[in-house]
C-alpha cells in the first residue's frame, strides 16, 4: 500500500483546517515580523538618533532573535498538534484498523506538518528580507551570503523544533504536555545546563548551542559568560541537530508502532 502522498496530504488537511492553530502560527511567523518592523520604524522616525532603522544588516540580524522565539514557538505548536491529534481525538484506532503500517502513520506526520510550518516561516522571512532593504535608511544591508545562511538557520530551527516536539507529543500522547516540556526546556532546562560549567564540552549537545552555530557570523567558540565558553564546530553542530531529530522521531515512531490503539 504505497499511499505516502495521499497520507501526507491528509496530515496537512488535519492541520490546515485547525483555524486557531493556523491563525496563531501566522501571527507568530509573519505578522510578528511586520509588527516589530512597524514599531521600530515608528521609534526611528520619532527619534532617529537614539533608535536605529528597522532594516539594514543590524535590523536583519536582530530579527533572527525574533524568529528563534516566535518561529520556534509556532514549530512547537504545530509539532505538538501533529504528534498527538490522532490519539487525543480517538481516531488513531480507526487508522490502525485499516491495516496501514503504523510506522508510515508516524512518519507521514513529518512532511505533513512542515507543509504548514515552512510556508509561514518563509513568508515571515521574506517580509524581513524586504524590510531589511526597504527600511535600511542608508545603513549597510545584508549580503546574499548572510541571507542564505539566515535562511538555512531558519530551516534548521523549524525542522529541529518541529520534529523534536512531534516525537515528544507522540511519545507522551499529549499535545499540552509536549508543549509544556518544550517550553520548560527552552526557558529553564537548556539555560540551567548552560550555567553548569562542570559539564564542560558536553554542553555542545544542547540543541540551541548547536543551532546558534548556523547563525550568520557565528564562530566555533560559544561564549557562555565572561570566563566560560565551549567550542562547537560546524560539523559537531550538524551532528547534534541531526541526532536530536533522529532520536525524537525514533522515539515517537516507536511509541506509535507499539502502543495499544
Amino acid at each position: 500500500m504505497n499511499r505516502v502522498l495521499p497520507m501526507v496530504n491528509a496530515e496537512f488537511l488535519k492541520l490546515r483546517t485547525r483555524r486557531g492553530l493556523v491563525i496563531l502560527s501566522t501571527v507568530l511567523c509573519a505578522v510578528s515580523v511586520v509588527l516589530v518592523n512597524a514599531i521600530i520604524s515608528i521609534y526611528h522616525a520619532v527619534d532617529p538618533i537614539n533608535n536605529g532603522p528597522a532594516g539594514g544588516l543590524h535590523g536583519f540580524t536582530d530579527s533572527l532573535d525574533l524568529f528563534t522565539i516566535a518561529g520556534g514557538l509556532a514549530a512547537v505548536l504545530i509539532g505538538a498538534t501533529a504528534g498527538a491529534q490522532d490519539v487525543s481525538s480517538g481516531v488513531f484506532r480507526s487508522l490502525v484498523a485499516t491495516g496501514q503500517s503504523r510506522v508510515k502513520l508516524a512518519l507521514v506526520r513529518i512532511p505533513g506538518g512542515l507543509m504548514l510550518l515552512l510556508p509561514l516561516l518563509a513568508a515571515g522571512y521574506a517580509v524581513e528580507v524586504l524590510a531589511s532593504f526597504v527600511l535600511a535608511d542608508g545603513t549597510p544591508t545584508p549580503d546574499a551570503a548572510s541571507l542564505l545562511i539566515g535562511a538555512g538557520w531558519l530551516l534548521a530551527l523549524a525542522v529541529l523544533n518541529y520534529t523534536v516536539t512531534l516525537g515528544l507529543a507522540a511519545l507522551l500522547r499529549s499535545r499540552g504536555t509536549a508543549i509544556g516540556v518544550m517550553i520548560a526546556w527552552e526557558l529553564a532546562g537548556s539555560r540551567a545546563i548552560e550555567r553548569i560549567s562542570v559539564f564542560g564540552s558536553w554542553r555542545q549537545l544542547v540543541s540551541s548551542f548547536a543551532l546558534d552555530r548556523f547563525l550568520p557570523g557565528a564562530t566555533d567558540t560559544v561564549q557562555l559568560s565572561h570566563v566560560d565558553s565551549i567550542t562547537v564546530t560546524l560539523g559537531a553542530a550538524v551532528a547534534v541537530v541531526v541526532a536530536w531529530i533522529v532520536v525524537a522521531i525514533a522515539l515517537g515512531t516507536w511509541r506509535t508502532a507499539t502502543q495499544d490503539a
Binding site: T17, R93, G99
Partner: protein
C-alpha cells in the same frame, strides 16, 4: 481453548456439533489477552462464517471489546493464534484488514473536520477507489446533505452513521461494529437493523458486539456468547434456542388437577403455572408434548391450547450463564 470446550460439552452434552460453513472469515485458537494478572480474553476459539450477521453477545466487561481490539491488531494478544480473511494476524495485518471495516467502541472523529473530510483522511490510507467511494457511502448512510458540516456538530446517531460510512470505504467483506446501537433512539435502531440486513444481503459479514440481547436477537442470525473473557457458546441463533429445555404451554379447565397428574408423569420434568394462568411444562423430549395432551384428555381435563414455549435469547443467555456460574461454584 480447552476450558471453553469442556464447559460447552458439560452444559450441552446432547447438543450436536455446530455446523461451520466452509468460508470462515475469522478464526481464532486459544486467543488470550491478559491485562496484568487478569484475563480479559481467555482461550477463545471463535469462528465467524461468511455472509451472516454475527452477534458477539455478553454483559458489560465480558471481554467483547478486547476481543475485537485483539482481532484488529489494536492490541497484542498474550497467547493464541488468529486468522482474519485467511491471513494470520498480526503478521499479515495489511492483507488481513484490507477488506475489513471496523468501529471500535464509540465512533471517534476529528471534530474540526467535516464528515466528508474525515472520510478523506481514512480513504487516504486505503486506495484511490476508496476516495472515489466517499459520495456513495455518505449517500448510503443518509449523510449526504450534512457531509460538509463539522463533525463536532453531529448528533451521536449521525456519528454512528458516519462510522459505518467509514467502514464501507474499502468495500469490506467483513464489518466489525462494537456496540453500534449505543445512544440510538428506537427509530435509529430500527434503521440500523435494516442497514445491517442489507449489508448481509449483499454478501458481507457483519460482526456486532452488544450487551443488548433483544437487538442481537432481532438483527443477527449467528451468535457467540462471551462471559468473563471465555467463549461460552457459538452457533446459529436458532440452534442456540433449540438447545434450551423442551417446554410447552398448556391451557386447560382445571390447572390444579392437571398439575397433580403431570407431576407423576415420567416425561414431565417440571410443571408450574405461569403468570398468565397457563401450565408451563418442562419435558424430557420434544415429542412428549403429544403424551401430555393424551394424559390430560384421558383424565377428563379439557385442553384448549397446547403450544411450544418460545425461548428468547435472553432466557437462553441467562440459562447458560447461570449454569456456568453454578458449574464454577462446585468445589473441586
Amino acid at each position: 481453548m480447552g476450558g471453553s470446550v469442556t464447559l460447552m460439552e458439560t452444559l450441552a452434552p446432547d447438543r450436536p456439533a455446530t455446523r461451520i460453513p466452509a468460508d470462515i472469515l475469522v478464526e481464532t485458537h486459544g486467543l488470550t489477552k491478559h491485562f496484568g494478572a487478569r484475563a480479559a480474553v481467555d482461550g477463545v476459539d471463535l469462528r465467524i462464517p461468511a455472509g451472516v450477521a454475527f452477534g458477539l453477545l455478553g454483559p458489560n466487561g465480558a471481554g467483547k471489546t478486547t476481543l475485537i481490539r485483539t482481532l484488529l491488531g489494536l492490541t497484542h494478544a498474550t497467547a493464541g493464534t488468529m486468522q482474519v480473511m485467511g491471513h494470520a494476524m498480526p503478521r499479515e495485518h495489511a492483507k488481513a484488514l484490507a477488506r475489513v471495516g471496523a468501529v471500535v467502541e464509540e465512533p471517534r472523529f476529528h471534530d474540526h473536520l467535516t464528515g466528508r473530510q474525515n472520510l478523506k483522511i481514512v480513504s487516504a490510507l486505503l486506495t484511490d477507489e476508496a476516495t472515489a467511494r466517499i459520495p456513495q457511502v455518505l449517500d448510503r448512510v443518509g449523510l449526504h446533505a450534512r457531509a460538509d458540516e463539522p463533525v463536532g456538530a453531529y448528533s451521536l446517531g449521525m456519528r454512528q452513521r458516519l462510522g459505518i460510512a467509514r467502514c464501507l470505504l474499502n468495500d469490506p467483506r467483513l464489518l466489525i461494529l462494537d456496540e453500534p446501537m449505543n445512544g440510538l433512539d428506537p427509530a435509529g435502531i430500527q434503521e440500523f437493523r435494516g442497514l445491517v440486513r442489507s449489508l448481509v444481503h449483499e454478501g458481507r459479514t457483519v460482526l456486532i458486539s452488544s450487551h443488548m440481547l433483544d437487538e442481537i436477537e432481532k438483527t443477527c442470525d449467528w451468535v457467540a456468547i462471551i462471559d468473563r473473557g471465555k467463549l461460552i457458546r457459538q452457533g446459529r441463533l436458532a440452534d442456540l434456542r433449540d438447545g434450551a429445555a423442551h417446554q410447552v404451554l398448556v391451557a386447560c379447565d382445571n390447572n390444579a388437577r392437571a398439575v397433580t397428574i403431570l407431576e407423576h408423569q415420567e416425561m414431565v420434568r417440571e410443571v408450574k403455572v405461569d403468570e398468565a394462568g397457563l401450565l408451563l411444562c418442562t419435558l424430557s423430549s420434544a415429542d412428549a408434548a403429544a403424551a401430555v395432551n393424551r394424559v390430560l384428555v384421558t383424565a377428563g381435563i379439557a385442553v384448549s391450547r397446547l403450544e411450544p414455549a418460545r425461548v428468547t435469547l435472553e432466557e437462553r443467555f441467562l440459562d447458560i450463564t447461570s449454569r456456568l456460574q453454578s458449574a464454577e461454584e462446585i468445589p473441586a
